[in-house]
Symmetry: C2
């Protein structure tokens, strides 16, 4: 036993082997520090990491308990289509289908392709009062998907996945039958209080979103 990661690993082992059972109180930091022959701060570091991962629940005075249902969480980033496609070894291209501006909103329709095959259809609105630089951008070389990731950092947002039936416009662009089931991602991102962009991404049929837990 040397670093806090070793103590974390040992504690996790005890949880998984049920030496420390769900809901039960585990020894205090001081006692564990004595057992492992280290400072209390080191034990604190290890247990705090386990608590952040959902294995433990810690409360002052009440002590540390093994979580009743250790919920592992999957993490998902905002997808950058070029990276998704190139990670599979394919060539990424995109076509700007349509662009127009109304009031302070820029509307863009983009088709993303993988080795020339339709991959996803993007329908995006950009709030020009939040991102004025977007007004003078040439979307034929760099897609809005990539440009915004680099140029419009956001504080928070929402993502929604759902399944829809392909409408004629989607069917024509994604080269599938009308009514085909499509996975769709809708996303809104905000900076402070202002909406930056709002996008609907319809993936080609059979697309799957994979997450590691």
């Amino acid at each position: 036993m040397q670093g806090w990661q070793d103590i974390q690993a040992e504690a996790l082992r005890r949880i998984q082997r049920r030496e420390w059972t769900p809901g039960s109180l585990i020894p205090g930091e001081a006692e564990l520090a004595r057992e492992f022959g280290c400072a209390r701060a080191t034990v604190n570091r290890a247990l705090r990491a386990l608590a952040e991962d959902g294995w433990l629940e810690r409360r002052r005075r009440a002590g540390t308990r093994v979580a009743l249902s250790p919920q592992r969480r999957a993490q998902m980033s905002v997808p950058v289509l070029r990276q998704e496609i190139e990670a599979h070894g394919y060539v990424y291209t995109h076509q700007l289908l349509h662009a127009h501006t109304m009031d302070d909103t820029l509307f863009l329709h983009t088709l993303h392709l993988s080795d020339g095959v339709p991959y996803a259809l993007e329908n995006r609105e950009i709030n020009l009062s939040e991102v004025p630089a977007a007004a003078s951008e040439d979307w034929t070389t760099l897609s809005a998907n990539e440009w915004l990731v680099q140029n419009a950092p956001f504080d928070h947002g929402t993502m929604i996945y759902e399944a829809i039936a392909a409408a004629p416009f989607e069917a024509a662009n994604l080269l599938c039958a009308e009514g085909s089931p499509l996975l769709v991602l809708r996303r809104e991102t905000f900076s402070g209080t202002g909406l930056i962009t709002c996008v609907t991404l319809a993936y080609a049929p059979a697309h799957a979103v994979r997450l590691q837990i």
Copy 2:
């Protein structure tokens, strides 16, 4: 300025106000500790938290830089259908449609309902050699979805979302037309090297998965 959270907040402010620009080197821990009038460990705690959230990239010797594209990540838990449904104020029920055992695998088909309306159709396999207790469980009162969360903690796993067309079996149980687009979640969870369970969850039409970024 008092605790590490204040230092974290101040650093985040400088990033968001572009006083520290993406890609640039920020002052070292020792210098910031001097500026804030605290110990280096306190600065370290604050900057480490920002790095874990993706705002900073830290490397020994190279120093700390503002991330080029501060990628916010969405977090998603393994859904517990009862909680999902009750969180919306509806009554959760479920029906065991089918169960049988072959070799060391238990096969279960379950329909989950929200206020009596079909919500999701679950097709599950449980590895009895990893979870022997599952063999003697009565699935009519507690669904496998809930039971496993409590009784079979896992180390890691994969989740896959995709869109499918409703087959006759799904259409009949989810009360929708054949061919309706359905959002489907496939999940495998493991403990150590062993597969615990593998589940396909077909949600009723128009279901959406919402994530906060």
